[in-house]
């Protein structure tokens, strides 16, 4: 089960994801992120991964695609709240150095 919530904080859009991000749920998540980026054109997109227990390669691919689409609109993508298991996956794939990653959502919003 994947739980996705979106909300606005000033110029920023915040997407909060909870659950396991794998092949079966990427379509659902992709739609939410695409809708958010194309309709709101946020200057800053924050994706909060605090409640994510696991992310597989298709989930990582989705985040990379999200960064590309935000880049195209001259916006920024900030990730925050990576739990240890997710952090490990990011470290192993060196994506820690590809994304702007913050400890908390507040930091991610301030880091604009």
């Amino acid at each position: 089960m994947l739980n996705i919530q979106t909300r606005q904080e000033g110029n920023a859009s915040v997407v909060t994801i909870q659950g396991k991000v794998n092949f079966e749920v990427t379509a659902q998540l992709r739609d939410v992120i695409r809708d958010t980026v194309t309709t709101l054109l946020p200057k800053l997109l924050v994706i909060n991964l605090e409640g994510v227990s696991f992310i597989d390669s298709s989930g990582l691919g989705l985040l990379v695609a999200a960064r590309n689409s935000v880049d195209k609109n001259s916006g920024k993508l900030h990730l925050c709240g990576l739990p240890p298991q997710v952090k490990k996956t990011f470290d192993q794939t060196n994506l820690t150095n590809y994304f702007s990653i913050f400890a908390t959502e507040q930091d991610a919003l301030r880091g604009a």
Binding site: S58, G61, V64, A65, Q85, T93, N97, Y98
Partner: protein, 385 residues
């Protein structure tokens, strides 16, 4: 349009005549029988779409006749209307429990029967349509399954024949695609001067798309090793190939290595992949993980890759695998992870084929009863001289 065929079963001739008259006038074809036994004989010659049968008849009564029709797979889809003089809900329920599709109470108005017949044929047409569509789906599925099986065989053909040897390396593998066909691939190729080029990759996603990209990764690798002996340059060029030829969410993790037998060095790049393990010769075994921090292939053309190196001497063993082997979530939310797998490597059989089988079984036992959910590839390389 030709209307359907109705079998009227009744021991009273006037009732058969009346129903026959109305049915024919409405355009249906009609078969007649005096009892269940005769009806079965008629049905052996020509199968009706609809049966209207009396309940009480000599030789074979309507209830038994209905059970025979509904109990036979060849005839059970025939719409069956039971006509009964016993009115009331008890009789209705009894009739429907026998498997009849509908009931008519005697005495009846011919118009009532004709209305039921019309409604029955609407249902019969719908059922026929569903059957037709189902057949189309089944045929489609059979064709897809056959094609997938063929593709899976072709994909197995992309893998090195194992066990095998290239130059000074003997190798063994286990390859378990999650859906018959998968995104894992590996390759071991000879280089000029006795060197060995080694690659294992895991393409994001599953199924046919991942399999196609895995073939692309293998081709790209095969091209690069003729142009350079540096895994860093292979990674950069394979990355570029993948960025240019795939969609934005598609990429691959990979471990690329070049064994130079003269210097006993393994130069390698970890592109977002699980660390390989090196098990040095001699006892006690102290396996080490060859970690590295590199991006996955296919994200961005400008991303850099680092080349690392480790000794690989005669008697040493290297273990390569994809994350499907260690990333199964157990009931207690534990993952084997690469640390867990590394632990198993301290105590492997000397024989390479036995060792690769043992390691796979250890991982399987850890996740049990949960099965592997992703593609799993495990490769073992022994340097024999």
């Amino acid at each position: 349009m030709q209307k359907g065929l109705v079998l009227v079963v009744d021991d009273e001739a006037p009732i058969r005549d009346i129903l026959s008259f109305y049915l024919k006038r409405a355009g249906y074809q009609v078969l007649l029988a005096e009892n269940g036994r005769q009806a079965l004989e008629e049905m052996a010659k020509l199968q009706p779409d609809l049966i209207i049968s009396d309940l009480r008849m000599p030789e074979l009564a309507g209830d038994e006749f209905c059970q025979i029709v509904k109990g036979n797979p060849a005839t059970r889809d025939i719409y069956f209307v039971l006509v009964s003089a016993m009115d009331g809900s008890a009789s209705r329920i009894g009739g429907l429990n026998l498997g009849a599709d509908d009931m008519i109470a005697k005495p009846f108005h011919a118009q009532e029967v004709m209305a039921k017949v019309a409604s029955a044929f609407r249902i019969i047409e719908m059922q026929k349509e569903i059957k037709r569509q189902n057949q189309v789906l089944v045929r489609f599925q059979e064709r897809m399954t056959a094609e997938l099986n063929l593709a899976a065989k072709l994909q197995m053909g992309l893998l090195p024949e194992a066990p095998g040897e290239v130059s000074c390396v003997h190798y063994h593998h286990r390859y378990l695609p999650a859906e018959g066909i998968g995104g894992d691939i590996y390759s071991i190729l000879p280089m000029p001067g006795g060197g060995v080029a080694i690659m294992i990759a895991d393409v994001s996603g599953h199924g046919v798309t991942a399999a196609l990209i895995s073939a692309m990764v293998k081709t790209s690798f095969g091209n690069q090793i003729h142009l350079s002996d540096s895994p860093r340059i292979w990674a950069e060029r394979m990355n570029r190939d993948l960025v240019r030829s795939t969609l934005e969410e598609q990429f691959a993790t990979a471990f690329l290595a070049y064994l130079d037998p003269a210097s006993h060095q393994l130069r390698y790049v970890v592109a977002g992949h699980e660390p390989a393990f090196r098990i040095p010769a001699g006892t006690p075994k102290s396996p080490e993980a060859l970690h590295g921090k590199g991006f996955m292939l296919g994200i961005d053309e400008s991303l850099p890759f680092d080349e690392l190196s480790a000794p690989f001497e005669p008697g040493d063993r290297i273990i390569l695998y994809t994350d499907g082997l260690v990333e199964v979530e157990r009931e207690d939310r534990q993952f084997l992870g690469n640390d867990g797998l590394l632990g198993y490597c301290a105590d492997l059989p000397q024989d390479g084929e036995a060792a690769v089988g043992h390691l796979l079984e250890q991982a399987r036992a850890f996740h049990s009863p949960n099965p592997f959910v992703d593609d799993v590839t495990l490769v073992l390389l022994d340097r024999v001289r």
